[in-house]
Structure formats: C-alpha cells, structure tokens
Amino acid sequence: MTQIAEPGERAAPGFAGTAAERKPRTRRKFNIQSVLGTTPMIATAIGVFVICIIFSIIWSFTSSKLFPNFNFIGLQQYERLWRTDRWIISVQNVFVFGALSMVGGMIFGYLLAVFMDQRIRQEDLFRSIFLYPFAMSLVVTGLVWQWMFDPNLGIQSAVRQLGWTNFEFAPLVKQETALYGLVLGGLWNGVGVTMAIMLAGLRGVDSEIWKAAKVDGIPTWKTYLFIVLPMMKGAIATAFILSATGVVRVFDIVIAMTQGGPGVSTQMPAIYVIQHITDRANVAQGMAAATMMLVPVMLIIGLQYLFQWNAKRKAARI
C-alpha cells in the first residue's frame, strides 16, 4: 500500500521472477491510458468512499429532517442518539450478537475442521453440506429459521408431538431469547466458511510438526489445541475479519427473522440508520448513528497500523 513507483528503478531480468511483487513495474510515472482505464476506480474511491463518508459526517452535525440541510447544531444529534434507548439497545445487541456468533463460529468451525481432518470418507460430501447454506441469502436463512422457530407449528410443536410435552424451543417469541435465535440462524449460514478457512489452515501446517508431536507422545487433541491452533494465525485472522465485517453490517437476517422485535429486543445499529433515513425521515439522526458505526472500523484499522508500525520499528532495531 505504501509503495509508489520510483522513476528509473527497474527489476534486473534474472531477479524479476522472485521479486516481481515488490518491484515497481512501471516504466513511466504517468500513463494516461492507465488513468483513463481506472476512471471508475478513481470515481468510486474518491466519490463514494471519501466524499460520501465526509457528507455523512457533515450531515450528522446538522438538523436535517426529511431532506438534508446545512443548518449546523453541533453535537445535539449525538447527545440525542446516546439518550435513545433504542440505539443503546441496538449497540448492546450488536456486541452480544457479534461476540456470540464470532466465538461460536470459531469454536464450531474449528471443531468441524478438526473432525474433517481425520481422513474421513466422503470429505467432499460433508464439505458441501456444511457450506451450502452460505450460498443462500441471509433473507432466505432468516425466513427458514423463523418458520422452524414458529411456536405453534415449528420444532417446538414437532418435538412435543413426539411426547416431550414440556419441550420449549421458540426463542423468537421472547424478548430475552430472540437474539440467540438470530445467532443460531447466522451460525447455520456462516459456519461452513469458517470451517473451510480453518481446514485450509490445518492442511497448511507442516507435517513435521505432527511427527514431532507424535514422537513426544502428545495426544492428538492436545496437539490440535496447543500446537497447531497457535500456528494458524493467518486462517484465524481471515475468519475473524470475515465474520467481524459481517457482524457490523448485520441487517438482512434481522429484517427477515424478527424485524427487530419482539419489542426492540433485536434492534441493530444498521437497522436504526436505515429506519431514520427512510420511514422516520430524520436524516441527521441516522447520519449520527452511521458515523458511530464507522468508529469501530476506524479503531481496528488504526490498531492494525499501530501494530505494523511497531513491527517495522522492531525489525529495524534488530
């Protein structure tokens, strides 16, 4: 990201194969065709990911209602935002939902990957079964699970008909449990991906490690947990980032499954923003909420830079 082509520098011919990725490939500093060809990228990067974000932030400091205006009122929208129960519950919900689905997804995904790694028969079949939900949209996921969680005709009643008349499993009808229903639906949709990434990570671990662990008499489960898992930082980070971005954006599945209810028990920040810019016609309030959604993303990016900078400094010292 930091490399900008230096004029005159060129890769030596014999050197190019290995160092190709690092060496600048341009001959000229400025090629008009290249700029023209990437016009859509320039427009998107500047027009959408810079200017639109700036406008969102600007409008969050105004009194915009149905239409945006530039009547600045300072931090009033933010004060109002953090006094609104609906928003505070949304933030709590996204943290609980995020923590449960990420931790749950990692554990279940890693377990599936480890079991898939036991040289089983029909590996491809199992893989297809674990992954197919991901091909379906979150709307479909939400609607199916909503149906299965139906208190009168869903899983609950089916099990009761088998004889367990006290069986209770209809999380979506109660405020306290609705969020867990969402987590379950989300896990069903996404765990297969975590499994696939983890499995790729497991297969990437040097087989010498396994031989060494066997020679030392370490049990298989301990090897998986204490030796192999810490070696899979790349796979874990990938799965983590993938699910984290999904969590911040969580919208479709909630709309399909609970519409934020019962009450406000499954409200999410993303829904809060959309509702304020559409039905509730309170643009500035929605923009204040959207700006708050940007904060965790900026924090994570900032932290990443800090780590990179730290690592570079350390490397330079050694």
């Binding site: 200017i51 409008w59 069903w188």
Partner: protein, 308 residues
C-alpha cells in the same frame, strides 16, 4: 461404515504428506465412531432447514396446521410452488415471485459483467501501470471493503437522485459495481501481480501499449480467476437485500426483497407452504451455482478473504 472397513482403510493408508495424521490405531473404533457421529450430527443440523423447506412447500395447509414439521407430506401438492411463482401477493400486487425473478436476472446479468470488467482493468493497471496516487486509491478502496454500508448509503442516494439514477436499473447496477469493486479489484490485482513480469515485458517489446497488452495477453490469461469472480458476484448480487430495498425502486425490486415482502405480508392467512416454496425458488439460483461450481466456490470465498 463398518469397523473392518475403517481398520483396513487405516492399514492401507500410506502416510502421505498432504495432511496431519488421524488418531492412533489403538483408539480406532471408538474414536472413529465419535468422529463420524459428530460429523453426521452436524450434517443433520445443516440439512434440517433444507428438508423442512422442501417438505413444508409440498404439504397442504390443513396438513401443516397439524404440526409434524419434519414429516414427509401425506398428500403431495405442487400448488404452493405454482402460487409462489405466479399469484402470491405482495401488498396489492398478486403476480407471485416471477417479476422479482426477472428483475434479479436483469440486475445480475448487467452488474456481473460490468463490475468484473472494471475490476479487471483496475487490477491490471494497479499491477503493471502504477501511476502517482494509484496505490493510495487502492488503499481507499480496501478501506471501503470494511466500511459499513450505512455510512455511505445516504449521500449515495442523494447523489443518485441528482443524476436521476435513483430507483432505476442502471442505478442499481452502478451500486453493485461500486460495492463489488474493492474485493474484485483486490482479487485481480493479486492475480496479475502473481504473473511473471516477462509476459508484460514481451508485450512492451512488441510495441503493445496499455490496451494492447490488456486485450492480447492479460485478458486470455485471466480466465480461471474470472470464473471465481463470476461465482462471487452472481451469488453476492443475487442474494443482496439492502441495496435492492434502497436503490432498486418498485419497478426493479429484486427477488430477495419481493420474497421478504411476500412472507411478511400480514394480511390474510399466512400460507407457510407458499412461503417456503417462494424461499426455495429464491435460493435456487445461488444453490445451482454452488453445486455446479463446487470447489471453485470455496476458492471464491478464500479469494474474497485474502488480505491485501
């Protein structure tokens, strides 16, 4: 799977270097049974909703009201499927899912090639024809991959409205192109960066310029990565809900939005069999893509997850 088969398989299993070893032979039977039990139970968990969807969509409403969620229908009926496709109601309109299906086909058929061609050129330029600021633009684009959509959506609505693209087919195509660009550009940039530079140099020696090298050398080479990109985009755009709700407008409402409207329409009796048939119909396209593409699909996910 019998214990015999397991042990013979283990006995014949020559140690290869492709993966870690299984449990030691002594614990074979118990361990193996545990492994398969866990996997089969998990598979049942993943398959259960699909089974429920299919059987519910084939039952009549009286049978659904009896409960027995998991049972195969006593009286098989395909009417819910016809109704879901042709006459199910969203609000006042009772045209079923078919308008949504054709809208989704239109949106996907236009958005996929547009977004891929643009990303291909981006990746090519970023690998071979860097210019001052190009890396910064790429950095912003990658940042865009992590930004919640809600942060940019409202100014984008206003901008689209100014250009009178809001609620139109070109409008939704542009939106999909914008939000697909970060991942696709990353995908193509990484692909082109992995090609040997000699290819590019040979083109230069022959006097080809930016477009000459792109069309004659790079485009034919990027067929495999383009398959991955197509899978990624077809499933992603077909499954989109948020942009469809916000940008497509009434005339271009995609299938997912229409499905949600059909199911959550509260007027009248809720017909669960029709709802489930509609759900399967909506999921059918990405599922077909998934089962045809097989391992390419996994590659697509992995590619989408690669870090810059």
């Amino acid at each position: 799977m019998t214990a015999e088969a397991i042990s013979s398989r283990l006995a014949s299993g020559v140690v290869d270097s492709s993966g870690p070893r299984g449990p030691k032979p002594k614990t074979v039977t118990v361990g193996r049974i545990g492994v398969y039990a866990f996997l089969i139970l998990s598979a049942l968990f993943f398959l259960m909703p699909l089974w429920v969807m299919v059987v519910t969509s084939l039952k009549t409403m009286p049978e659904i009201r009896e409960g027995h969620l998991f049972n195969w229908p006593a009286l098989l009926t395909f009417d819910p499927w016809l109704k879901a496709w042709d006459t199910a109601c969203t609000g006042r309109d009772c045209n079923g899912l078919k308008p949504g299906f054709w809208n989704s086909v239109k949106i996907t058929a236009l958005s996929v090639p547009v977004s891929i061609v643009i990303a291909m050129i981006n990746g090519y330029a970023l690998s071979f024809w860097k210019y001052k600021g190009s890396e910064l633009l790429f950095g912003i684009l990658i940042f865009g991959a992590f930004v919640p959509y809600q942060v940019v959506i409202y100014p984008l609505i206003i901008g689209m409205r100014e250009l009178s693209l809001f609620g139109t087919l070109p409008g939704i195509v542009i939106v999909h192109t914008i939000f697909g660009m970060p991942i696709l550009t990353l995908l193509y940039r990484n692909f082109f960066a992995s090609l040997p530079i000699e290819l590019f140099k040979a083109g230069r020696v022959d006097g080809a310029g930016f477009w000459g090298i792109f069309f004659r050398i790079m485009l034919p080479m990027s067929v495999p990565i383009t398959i991955v990109a197509i899978i990624l985009q077809v499933t992603g755009i077909w499954n989109d809900f948020l942009f469809g709700t916000v940008f497509a407008g009434r005339e271009n409402m995609p299938m997912t939005v229409q499905l949600n409207n059909i199911v959550t329409t509260t007027t009248g009796i809720r017909e669960y069999n029709v709802n489930m048939a509609a759900t399967i119909l909506t999921a059918a396209v990405p599922l077909v893509v998934y089962f045809i593409s097989g391992k390419w699909f996994v590659r697509g996910i992995a590619a989408g997850a690669v870090k810059g």
